[in-house]
Symmetry: C2
Subunit: 490 residues, 2 copies
């Protein structure tokens, strides 16, 4: 490619980007396939938008900014316009919906999956490129649209392989807290935002920490001081009562919230929205265990305007141990308006596919997927004159649905067994002159014999009897290999 | 998101990038799934590398170039290093293989699929972002590795849905032409490249055009002159005889080529390589119709060093009409050496997924995939009091594997029918007060009744008897809908 034969670039990937091998990818693919199928059953249409958007369309950046690459990967096109790689799948959806609104079926239900990029400082486990999988309904203000998104998320987690009881959707509405604050006559937007931020820290700081942040402020252990929201003592009590109102079934949470937020118009709206979400969830058979109302769910993004939801994984065997969020979403009304000036109600959910895949690998929720990370059956090249027979054997195995290959490196039994070991192959097939003459084949069960493989030093040693090695009639080869492969995958 | 409420960006995607809807994506996904499964059966491991590589690692560009963005999308990272979006999947594989060579199973067999980007001038049907799907074997110099790649490509096309006889793999070896030129004592690299380029134009210019380009040059109809390779008349005859030696079965092509190129060492090597490829293809059961030897296959890229292959689609019903290339590849030895200095033999194939998907849609090779582009069954909202029942109906349908949704826009029968029409829904379910009281449901077959849907003006007209409309017992609902959906997909 390059004519500069003196220059040898260092082989390395850019900071914050990772190569992923089969075992890392199997979980992710299984999730995307399972979740896509659920989205399609709910009538959501697959949409793919480009990796690039114009920077002004992405919305985070002012178009006249000199170098709009804070947080995103941006570059100037040949016509000087700034383009940036998408940082999520929602901003491109808003652009697409605004661009095609006249001709789209409305409400527009779309799902999408793909890579998003963040130009942030990488760290351990923090990458600048990852996969999201989203579903959004654009153009419906019905709370039932939120209920459907929640039901899909719950069903998607189940379809991906999460065992029953190991995931919960937690639902809240921004209108409830807004109503509570309206009742307490706290109207300043900055003050409201401080309340929201304080509430978001309940998990981490506990009741007293949040109480401090709602009031005069909080001094942490390092001596750093965070200024408080400075709301009145009565309002602080109401907010804390509100945050603590979760726990029971959906109807009882609504009953508990009613006296706290029911006095304001927005609070009443929030209660009615949640009641309608509850009814729709019941219609769709979503259990109380799968979807709960939890007033302590905040979610950071300021743009949410109604229901918000969060998918949380729970440690198998201990319902008290949260494994953290693997997705979330909510209702937002302003994204399309950025383009058209007309607010369009929308609601959606995004799976954090990489986090979910990591959790699924950790808890063995993905047997089928991980089986594909096993290597193929290796047909050993023992005698160059038999290459045609080796290829025929490999093809027979493949035609029976068993991954198989003829070893194509330089010959030598040791190299071939080392190869099969690195590939985590379940079995090797050996056909030498004797087998060819007798109409037989020797099969080595590598899981059984793996611990001995590294001790093999020459062909003669190899041909001695070894555990897991059997000689079968050539016609029985596929059946015998299948027995080993099926046993190993279970 | 933005605080600048005055500014309204225009909703448009960047030049040369496209949004793709479900019907565009169904074919592509079916191809990727089918081809991936074939690759895995052949023992190839899934690998995913980042979208970005350092510009020097991509190899097209000198690292000291001032602005290395010719042909690629490049930007400077925060540490001033130039990164670029990958323009194919081979250059990142070379970087990965060089970086991990010590610990990889060797030969390393990997497949990959994903987006690649080219910063080129867009045009009709020419995009700056598209999907590739590759398989490569790195670290084997055996011609059998090439045979395997060809067998996988043929099987992949079949698995993706191409009907038998509608695709052919055409195989050649660079060594043959090189041998022929060596015999004619044409050693100048520039002259050899001119011969290669002339040979590549046989399809377009015919025998005489290539003869001119091999000799003194060619004046085209517009009056433009292309200088010729200036090789001797005898060598021109040999090259033309070589290019015309295709046509019969693989053994007879080899027999025809033997006198033309067999006198040189490299020509003999090429003949032996192709003979071994033929034997391995036979072992794998790849028919003469699926894989041919064709000396006229050149493929542009200079870096190929041995076998080259091209997948060509053929018009159904007329074997003489080529629909063009949908993929290709070959053997290359220098990509890993760019990093390590040590040549590593490699061979691979890349599917042009978008072109293949377009051809498959055109020839209806994708019934299963296109069925997913149908909309969901729409449960009509006729009575707000029955919302719970509507969600239960939709869930019953989904649990039976039928895509279904409750309409969630503003009510009104006309809007709902228009929606179902835009979604290309097969059926609508209507449950009003009467049906609810009687324990029945009304089902509308929308394919049958679609032409009348636009004439519906009010609810009363709708409720009159119409073609394709039936009322069934509520317990029979799912079975009746399935009958319509299955009929429509067939």
């Amino acid at each position: 490619m390059s004519d500069n034969s003196e220059f040898r670039p260092e082989a390395r990937s850019p900071h914050g980007f990772q190569d992923r091998r089969a075992r890392d990818l199997a979980g992710e693919r299984a999730i995307l396939e399972a979740v896509s199928a659920v989205y399609e059953r709910y009538g959501f249409e697959h949409l793919d938008t480009p990796a690039f958007e114009y920077a002004d369309a992405l919305g985070k950046f002012l178009p006249d900014s000199d170098r709009p690459n804070e947080g995103v990967f941006a570059l100037q096109d040949s016509d000087e316009q700034w383009m940036a790689l998408r940082y999520d799948l929602t901003a491109p959806l808003a652009r697409f919906a605004a661009q095609n609104w006249e001709t789209l079926p409305k409400p527009f239900r779309r799902y999408a999956f793909g890579t998003v990029w963040r130009n942030e400082k990488p760290g351990p486990g923090r990458f600048r490129e990852f996969i999201q999988c989203d579903a959004d309904t654009v153009g419906s203000d019905r709370p039932e649209a939120d209920a459907e998104i929640v039901a899909m998320a719950a069903e998607g987690l189940r379809a991906a392989g999460i065992s029953k009881g190991s995931a919960v959707l937690k639902i809240n509405s921004r209108k409830l807290l807004n109503g509570l604050l309206a009742q307490a006559r706290i109207d300043d937007p900055a003050q409201r935002l401080s309340v929201l931020r304080a509430a978001d820290k309940l998990d981490r700081l506990g009741q007293q920490g949040v109480r401090d942040l709602l009031g005069k402020g909080r001094l942490d252990e390092s001596g750093a001081f965070t200024p408080g929201a400075m709301i009145p003592a009565g309002a602080i009590d109401s907010v804390l009562a509100f945050l603590a109102a979760g726990g029971g079934d959906r109807a009882s949470v609504l009953a508990a919230l009613s006296p706290v937020v029911g006095g304001s118009e927005e609070g009443n709206q929030g209660l009615e929205d949640l009641a309608r979400i509850d009814a729709a969830l019941k219609g769709m058979g979503v259990s109380e265990a799968d979807a709960r109302f939890d007033p302590a769910v905040v979610r950071g993004l300021e743009y949410y305007t109604g229901a918000v939801y969060e998918a949380e994984l729970i440690a198998p065997g201990d319902a008290r141990v949260s494994l953290g969020s693997v997705g979330g979403g909510g209702r937002y009304d302003d994204l399309v308006a950025r383009f058209t000036g007309t607010p369009v109600p929308a609601t959606g959910f995004s799976f954090g596919v990489s986090r979910l895949a990591a959790a699924m690998a950790q808890f063995d929720w993905l047997k089928a997927g991980l089986a594909t990370a096993r290597g193929p059956v290796v047909v050993i090249v023992f005698d160059q004159a038999l290459m045609g027979e080796y290829f025929a054997v490999a093809q027979e195995l493949r035609d029976a649905g068993i991954a198989a290959e003829v070893y194509l490196g330089p010959s030598g039994m040791k190299a071939q067994m080392k190869y099969a070991d690195r590939r985590r192959s379940p079995a090797a097939v050996i056909i030498g002159g004797d087998e060819a003459a007798n109409g037989t084949a020797t099969i080595k069960d590598l899981d059984l014999g793996r611990e001995l493989a590294s001790a093999v030093t020459d062909n003669a040693a190899w041909r001695e009897g070894r555990p897991g090695q059997q000689t079968v009639a050539r016609a029985e080869l596929v059946a015998a290999v299948r027995k080993i492969v099926d046993g190993g995958a279970a």
